[in-house]
């Protein structure tokens, strides 16, 4: 059901753009106003979320992180999984952000019944492969789009574009990342629907970004190979946006506005959704804090000065009564 809702929402969004930009001809709205608003929402929302997170104190280092912590000399420390120094933490963060180490360590539990029940844990790398392919493709595609956002186009973007189309198949040349990202998205989607446990815990908020990104990819592929539009005009529009002199060329096809509208929705949705893990990963306490609990005292920031009432004070307060009852007191 969650998947169906999400799909309906994404299709409705496509329809909005088709009707608005195609039928209604609201090109300035879909080509200029909405992208600008979405970008501002993205930027402000992202910064707001990060600052909001930074407001929560994280006083305690989390020592239970899948590796031996620094201890006595003859016990070997796992320096990457349970670092006690800043450099160790940087190593752990780099592995996490660039190579998704936590996902790489993903395991799958299996219960074998024949011949007596036996529980086994096996390595499960599919999710890691799907995730890493998806994220790197997304990243390369994002950078490749730099050719529409810069003039002159920097050499590294040109170079990346060449590398991605190195197979030189078809005209225009197909990109390798296009195939890979479609495959990865399909896997990430099927993973959720085919496994009943995963299906049970999947929410519309899990399906919606998948479908939205899939729709963006599909409209992009359509625009490049099937429903072509005037790319020079597309660059005119985009350069107008980034130089803050927006203009709306007339020759752009509806497909372009659908693509841009979906991207705008993604930008505006990003900070308020699970996609914020892009920023959150830098702030995850199990990853970015050195486990130096045994070397350094970490003071709880919400400690307040506790009002004490010592025994001496208590005795002073009740001395007369204590004496009267014949109880011994320390000070006469």
């Amino acid at each position: 059901m969650s998947a169906v809702y999400s799909l309906i929402i994404v299709l409705a969004l496509v329809l909005v753009a088709v009707v608005g930009a195609g039928g209604g001809g609201l090109h300035a709205l879909f080509g200029v106003v909405i992208p600008y608003v979405a970008f501002v929402v993205f930027l402000a929302g992202f910064i707001y979320r990060v600052i909001n997170w930074a407001k929560s104190p994280v006083p305690f280092r989390i020592p239970t992180t899948a590796g031996q912590q620094e201890s006595l000399k003859w016990i070997k420390q796992n320096k990457l999984d349970n670092p006690s120094t800043t450099w160790g933490v940087i190593g752990r963060m780099v592995l996490e952000i660039l190579f998704f180490r936590s996902l790489f360590r993903n395991t799958k539990m299996q219960l074998k019944v024949n011949g007596g029940p036996s529980l086994s844990y096996g390595s499960s790398k599919f999710l890691w492969v799907g995730a890493i392919v998806f994220h790197y493709c997304f990243f390369i595609i994002l950078l490749r789009h730099g050719r529409f956002f810069t003039d002159p186009v920097p050499g590294c973007i040109e170079w990346l574009d060449k590398l991605d189309s190195i197979l030189q198949i078809g005209v225009p040349n197909i990109y390798i990342t296009e195939f890979l990202i479609v495959g990865a998205l399909l896997y990430l989607f099927l993973r959720r629907v085919c496994d009943s446990k995963l299906r049970y815990i999947s929410l519309p908020a899990d399906y919606f970004p998948l479908f939205l990104i899939m729709a963006i990819v599909i409209t992009g592929i359509l625009m490049r190979y099937f429903i072509r539009t005037d790319i020079v005009a597309a660059k005119d529009l985009i350069m107008g946006l980034v130089t803050l002199h927006p203009k709306v060329p007339e020759t752009l096809g509806t497909i372009f506005y659908v693509h841009v509208f979906l991207v705008s929705i993604l930008m505006a949705y990003f900070p308020w959704s699970k996609l914020m893990h892009a920023g959150g990963i830098f702030l995850s306490p199990t990853r970015n804090l050195a486990n130096n609990n045994r070397m350094k005292r970490h003071i709880n920031p919400w400690n307040y000065p506790v009002k004490l009432h010592t025994y001496e004070e208590w005795e002073d307060e009740f001395r007369d009564v204590l004496k009267e009852a014949g109880i011994p007191v320390e000070k006469e």
């Binding site: 993205f42 930027l43 992202f46 910064i47 990060v50 600052i51 930074a54 407001k55 929560s56 104190p57 994280v58 730099g146 050719r147 529409f148 956002f149 810069t150 003039d151 002159p152 186009v153 920097p154 973007i157 040109e158 574009d161 030189q168 078809g170 005209v171 225009p172 072509r228 539009t229 005037d230 790319i231 020079v232 005009a233 660059k235 005119d236 350069m239 107008g240 980034v242 130089t243 803050l244 002199h245 020759t251 096809g253 920023g279 830098f282 920031p301």
Partner: protein, 129 residues
């Protein structure tokens, strides 16, 4: 806010990365749409101009297949005019300069068709003579 010394620089880096196109294009002259030099003595391209702008690569691809795969040497356009299929002899007869025509657009959007690895652009011929 905690860890200001790390969060603030991080956010500043994020801000500059994400707004890269805004400041990258800042110092430069306003963006100008490419103006390929159009032929003077003819008025019409092979197909409708608008269509050509978006689909010329598709047409070229089709032409190539027609010649190389299907042994067809002539193309009849939607208006019924017959053209000899050739990148060098037909396209470049009207569009006499690769530099002033094709490249004008291609440089702007950073495409460099590899066709010219083999096919000879007109200007190179005149220069070589």
């Amino acid at each position: 806010m905690y860890d200001k010394d790390k969060i603030i620089p991080g956010l500043i880096i994020f801000f500059f990365l994400i707004t890269f196109p805004l400041w990258y294009n800042l110092g430069q002259a306003a963006y100008e749409s490419p103006k390929p030099k159009l032929p003077v003595n003819v008025k019409k391209c092979i197909e409708d101009t608008e269509w050509m702008r978006a689909n010329h690569m598709e047409l070229l691809n089709e032409w190539r297949d027609m010649v190389v795969r299907h042994d067809m040497t002539h193309y009849v356009n939607s208006a019924g005019v017959n053209y000899e299929i050739s990148l060098q002899k037909t396209c470049m007869k009207c569009h006499t300069s690769k530099k002033e025509f094709c490249d004008k657009c291609h440089v702007k959007v950073s495409v460099s068709p590899y066709c010219w690895d083999c096919h000879v652009a007109p200007e190179e011929v005149t220069n070589g003579q």
